[in-house]
Amino acid sequence: MAIRSFTRPILYALLIALSCFYLMPVYVMIITSLKPLEEVTLSQMWQLPTSLDFSSYSEAFTKLAPNLLNSFYLVIPATLLSALLGSLNGYVLSKWKFKGANTLFTIILFGMFIPYQSILIPLIQFLREIGLYNSIAGLVFVHVVYGIPITTLMFRNFYASIPDSMIESAKIDGAGFIGVYRFIMVPLSITGFVVVAIWQFTNIWNEFLFAVTITTSDQQPVMVALQNLSGSQIVQWNVQMAGALLAALPTLLVYIFLGKFFVKGLLAGSVKG
């Protein structure tokens, strides 16, 4: 279905206007990142740089590069593990309901709302006890744990849209808990995995509080290194913006390449939320 053709120009005008609004901050980031430092002031924020200066990018890149790898070591396993855990939980809680399953889901979901600032101290002490403090593994662990509620929610909603009759017939064919998961749920939820993976990838990539408090120097992911570019008193915004754009590239690529699946995945899953 489409709005009739004579309204099309209005439609495009609207979309372009909205896109301009969405790109406005990006425009400011890009021009700021290309300016020499003395031009980075509030009064000149809209002005194009007098000459293109890529030194911010090279400076940001040299400082961020070592930490970029840390971020991948962190984000990839954390995303995979939390997607796997979430899908198992979602599967059990939507298709193998037992007495109290909904209550249990409620209890798990509630964990999403815990303010992380308040639990830093016991968390850091716990990680030190088990020897995971100041390690990427520790950070992976934390993100997997605190990712359980939201991944469970997403997968549970996703699986709710898979008709129970499919499961029943598979059971009659002799498939058990594992068989149903492996041969019905997983293949049907590839797009669901994409949605959850994109969500977790972005959030873990951009997460700062855990990263800065759980890791030091060599172990730090890129978002902390990005903050490290600024000082305790003086911030060089051109380098900061260049760094921010560089650090956003992996997530951006994820969106560009998986954006289609993102919508498809949501389409397959959340309609029956």
């Binding site: 279905m1 489409a2 439609l11 979309l15 909205l18 609004f21 969405y22 790109l23 901050p25 990006v26 400011v28 509030l42 809209w46 855990l85 198992l88 939980n89 599967y91 059990v92 809680l93 193998w96 037992f98 909904n102 249990l104 409620t106 798990i108 509630f110 964990g111 999403m112 709302f113 815990i114 303010p115 600032q117 308040s118 639990i119 016991p122 509620p149 929610l153 002799g174 058990g176 808990f177 594992i178 972005t202 700062f208 509080l209 990005l226 903050q227 913006m241 650090a247 956003a248 997530t251 994820v254 969106y255 560009i256 954006g259 993102f262 389409l267 899953g269 959340s270 309609v271 939320g273």
Partner: protein
Amino acid sequence: METETTMRSVTVTTRKKRSLTKDHMLAIGFLIPSILLVGVFVYGFIGWTGYVSLSNWNSLVPDFSFVGLKNYLYLFGDFRFQADLRNTLFFTIMFILAVIVVGQILAILLDQKIQQESLFRNIFFFPMALSFVVTGVVWQWLLNPSTGVNLFLAKLGLDSKWYTDTTIFPAIGWGKIEFGIPIAMIAVVIAAVWQMTGFSVAMYLAGLRGVPEEVREAARMDGANEFQVYWKIIMPILRPITVSVIIIMAHISLKIFDLIYAMTGPGANFVTDVPGVYMYETTFRGNYYANGAAIAVVMLLAVAIFIIPYLWSSRKGEA
């Protein structure tokens, strides 16, 4: 190999009943790690926080002596905390409403079989890829009343003090503060909506794509116009999506910290302060560990008010 065979024969012979219970056990077994992790790291730590909030630990030296509700009484009599509660309430309402409305509008626009759909879609998704810490600063510049978008708006005769506005509307005296919508929060809402609508756009777009064309056609045959089709047919179908969007956005908005910390800080007269910022500052700057823990507990209780009706209704729907 051997166990597999026996397992198989068990499944086959006892068919329905045994396999069900066995599989149920297995299902619950798979849940156990998550339950344990959530139990320790969420509820264990909430318990710890609750315990600290009742203690006297308001200096660098841990002091777990019990002081009852002293920290809570202090908070509720505190100008800043009262302001925080008000700000969170209005921020959450405005933010969630805006994400739903803007998300639906953008999704409808994108669903018109337009050219370059993926380009536009990526433009609306892009902000999600950025860190709040950075976008906060950019929005701080953009909405700076003397150098930001006001330079353009002024030409249209519009002007706003954005996040520097200390007006509360309508200012109803309540405790130590004035109750009402903090106008400065609107600026923060704009930034947060800009960053997070991508998610709701994707959700609604998926929802729209899932509505069969016949349903719309049928409505049109009955003489409904486009607007009525959306309002009467599509909106109800999208309702479950809206519920998911509300939950996910609520968990972002109630805990919001990075964006506000980077963009406005607590704001003049605490018009843009939120509990997350207050908790962080009072705990790690002021060393008021017990007060900080009490803020966390109040935040959690506030969340419970939000989420329990949802879970209750979703249970009703599924039972």
